[in-house]
């Protein structure tokens, strides 16, 4: 026979202060877990949404990212020989030469610390290859004009990137580009970028080279052959699927998850002790009651279960509260400077279903872990002695 749930509820209300303190403690631990994991989830979501498995990105061998890659136009010219490159609407090969530079733009907000934002110079063909890019406000920049479009994330996070805003760039910081549009790209990393006509950017930054070339594949299944050809002696460049390139950039998030696991592990053990303390007190304070319940026929197991349920009641409601608080930071914009690309990635903190699940897992662990020993003590209690003590 199981003790009624109502009994647990009434018991919790009897020890209000102690239960409240434990409740707060567990909810704070859950909140920290959710907040720390939301950093990693946000970065991963952003990078995972970037790139297409139909695109191959080509860099200079030895470089670690687009921003450290310097490719001569003569080297890039060899790419046209590669097999399996798709043709565009007007019949030309879908090959997009791109130039990546950075410029410091202040963050929004009162302090306005500068962030190193990626500026990508592209030709018109790039919009056919990066099909995920959609202009949500304004229009594309025209070739030969000092015009730029800005990603949704960049616009939200950095100052003066509103439509018709002006951005000074270039080697002399004296070329004024005008924002003519805003784009989104399914939440991907390129939403943190600013795009400009490539020739104008080459001129402004005095760079006569390319950072990367992106090609669209005719048949994604035959990507291997194209990549092998590009890496081989005929072209001698460093090609990989776009999705793989961005996946490798997200390795940093694994470090965050690792650190979070260690920190939360330590805090969770602390929380287990705190819950156990509360539950021990509950058992000690109810010796006679427990003995009485045993006398009227409740089994040891149902008494044990009752205490575990009571503890779970605290920890899971605390978990819900902690997660509720964490929803306030859900979607808030952060950015970080990658030490591989040397550009900032603006991303949203994300409370994902996975995080909710691990938070509830943690709360259950804390609840059960904290209740186990006290519940065992309660179930092993000697009935006669406990009753006599009164």
């Amino acid at each position: 026979m199981v003790l009624p749930f109502y009994y647990n509820w009434r018991n919790l209300r009897r020890r209000r202060l102690s239960v409240t303190l434990t409740f707060f403690l567990v909810s704070v631990v859950v909140f920290v877990l959710a907040a720390l994991l939301s950093f990693a989830a946000g970065i991963r979501a952003s990078l995972a949404a970037t790139g297409s498995s139909r695109n191959v990105i080509i860099l200079k061998p030895g470089s670690t990212a687009e921003s450290t890659s310097i490719m001569l136009p003569s080297e890039a010219a060899r790419i046209v020989q590669a097999p399996n490159i798709a043709h565009g609407s007007t019949g030309q090969l879908l090959i997009s030469p791109e130039l990546c530079v950075q410029t410091n733009i202040p963050r929004r907000g009162p302090v306005g610390t500068p962030a190193s934002v990626a500026i990508r110079g592209v030709d018109d063909i790039a919009y056919e290859i990066h099909a995920e890019l959609k202009i949500i406000d304004g229009r594309r920049p025209r070739q030969g004009m000092m015009e730029i479009i800005v990603g949704k994330a960049a616009r939200e996070r950095y100052a003066n990137l509103e439509p018709s805003g002006r951005l000074e760039m270039g080697r002399l910081a004296n070329r004024v580009f005008t924002v003519v549009g805003v784009f989104e790209a399914g939440g991907g990393a390129i939403e943190s970028e600013v795009w400009a006509p490539r020739t104008m950017l080459e001129d402004a930054f005095n760079r006569r080279f390319l950072s990367s070339v992106v090609v669209r594949l005719e048949d994604p299944a035959a990507a291997r052959a194209t990549i092998d050809y590009l890496n081989g002696p005929a072209v001698e460049l460093d090609a990989q699927l776009e999705t793989k390139y961005y996946d490798e950039l997200s390795t940093k998030t694994r470090e965050i998850v690792f650190l979070t696991t260690v920190l939360i592990g330590i805090m969770a053990i602390g929380a287990i002790f705190a819950v156990a303390n509360t539950m021990y007190a509950a058992v000690d304070g109810r010796k006679r009651e427990i003995a009485m319940l045993r006398t009227i026929g409740f089994a040891r197991s149902s008494i044990m279960l009752s205490f575990v349920i009571e503890s779970l009641l605290i920890s899971t409601t605390a978990c819900a509260a902690g997660l509720g608080a964490s929803l306030f930071i859900n979607g808030s914009r952060q950015d970080f400077l990658s030490d591989t690309t040397w550009t900032v990635l603006a991303y949203e903190l994300r409370i994902t279903p996975g995080i909710l699940l691990s938070a509830f897992g943690l709360a259950t662990l804390v609840g059960v872990g904290g209740a186990l020993a006290p519940a065992l003590k309660a179930s092993r209690m000697r009935v006669i002695e406990a009753l006599r003590k009164a």
């Binding site: 080279f209 920190l263 156990a276 030490d339």
Partner: protein, 394 residues
């Protein structure tokens, strides 16, 4: 004396509870110590930067735009006496990757002649400087990086630069800079890099060599720093490559805050852990007092005054929290100073130095938690009405 015995008995009468409270306080304190140690490490690094009287000159628009190496002579010419600007050292970032090692390195080429004078805080010995001057492939490895990769003085190592020339560069390790404040960065000679760069084919109108990422300008006094910070930018104003000069601390702070804004986020984390420890301690103290209301009433009826009651409760809480705080402070101190964990490198920040002062500070925090946690229970103890408490006796 009697009171101490009473205190001791109180702590030992419910051993599981005492143990669990100590643990519940100690574990958050461990996290507190670790996160403050990281902040402390960054601050020490920045304080050192502030002390070194160095200016950093970089390209006005972005650190990715290089400056002509010839700017060095122009900066030096601002002070022919060499008293106010004692040395100027050009620096060029090459990043670097090691085969089969995931983490990117921070490797910089520096002007061979001025590097030892500009960076006395690297604390190179006379022999090490001699080796640096003698060997074109000399490499000074950051202490933590050396530990991580197992590099020792005299080793021959290969680094793949992340920028041109891209081809692997071979070095001889001449020092692992054990006394430097920067444990991560590696330095090698600019003349070696320049020579390798001459072999690289370059786009028309651009030469890969002859550029630097930053200049570090060592000044004589603070007044000189203030003066030249303006004077250097003035010198290159309206030139093809304008500069932005700031003191080293501002320069470094700008970098550090861009990586996740670590200091701010860790301060929040440290604050949260204190809150958790406080909750745990307050919970125990309130339970302790609740269990002993009749005892307190008895003490009162025997004539012990409110000060004694207050003191007893406060001291019990203090004892609990200081034991927990001591364990929480001592564990990371021992682990990161005297066990193999010393070589453990933390992702993002790489090297963790847990200093005694940080541990002592957390001990003080533990005391404060003890005082705060007992505040409400002690207040209840003082206000306790003897008659009501004794009447409720079961």
């Amino acid at each position: 004396m009697l009171r101490f015995i009473y205190l001791y008995r109180n702590l030992t009468r419910n051993i599981p509870r005492t143990f669990m409270t100590c643990a519940a306080v100690a574990l958050p304190i461990i996290i507190y110590v670790l996160s403050t140690a990281v902040i402390d490490g960054l601050n020490q690094f920045l304080d050192n930067s502030a002390k070194q009287l160095r200016l950093v000159t970089m390209h006005k628009t972005s650190f990715i735009n290089p400056l002509p190496a010839g700017y060095r002579a122009k900066i030096e010419s601002l002070d022919p006496t060499k008293k106010r600007i004692t040395s100027v050292c050009g620096m060029r970032w090459i990043g670097g990757k090691i085969q089969d090692f995931p983490m990117p390195l921070s490797t910089l080429a520096v002007d061979v002649d001025t590097y030892p004078a500009t960076f006395p805080d690297e604390n190179l010995s006379a022999e090490e400087i001699a080796a640096w001057n003698r060997d074109r492939r000399a490499l000074v490895v950051g202490a933590a990086t050396a530990r991580q990769l197992g590099w020792k003085v005299g080793d021959r190592v290969t680094i793949n630069p992340s920028i041109p020339p891209y081809s692997p560069l071979e070095f001889n390790v001449v020092s692992t800079a054990p006394l430097a404040k920067d444990f991560v960065t590696n330095f090698f000679r600019m003349d070696y890099l320049e020579e390798e760069l001459k072999k690289v084919s370059a786009p028309e109108g651009w030469t890969p060599d002859g550029w630097v990422s930053f200049f570090f300008v060592k000044c004589g006094t603070h007044a000189d720093m203030d003066y030249f910070r303006m004077a250097i930018d003035e010198l290159f104003a309206r030139s093809p490559d304008e500069t932005k000069t700031q003191d080293e601390k501002s320069f470094m702070t700008e970098f550090i805050t861009q990586f996740f804004d670590l200091p701010t986020n860790l301060t929040i984390l440290a604050g949260v852990t204190i809150f958790v420890a406080l909750m745990a301690a307050a919970n125990t103290m309130s339970m302790n007092i609740r269990d002993r209301l009749n005892e307190i009433a008895t003490l009162k009826s025997l004539g012990f005054g409110p000060t004694t009651i207050f003191g007893l409760i406060q001291f019990e809480s203090l004892a609990l929290c200081s034991i927990g705080g001591f364990i929480g402070a001592a564990l990371p101190y021992i682990a990161f100073n005297h066990t193999p964990l010393r070589n453990f490198t933390v992702p993002l920040i790489q090297a963790l130095d847990v200093r005694m002062i940080v541990c002592l500070e957390s001990l003080v925090i533990a005391f404060a938690i003890g005082v705060l946690a007992a505040a409400w229970p002690a207040w209840t103890g003082i206000r306790l009405k003897v008659v009501t408490a004794l009447r409720n006796l079961e």
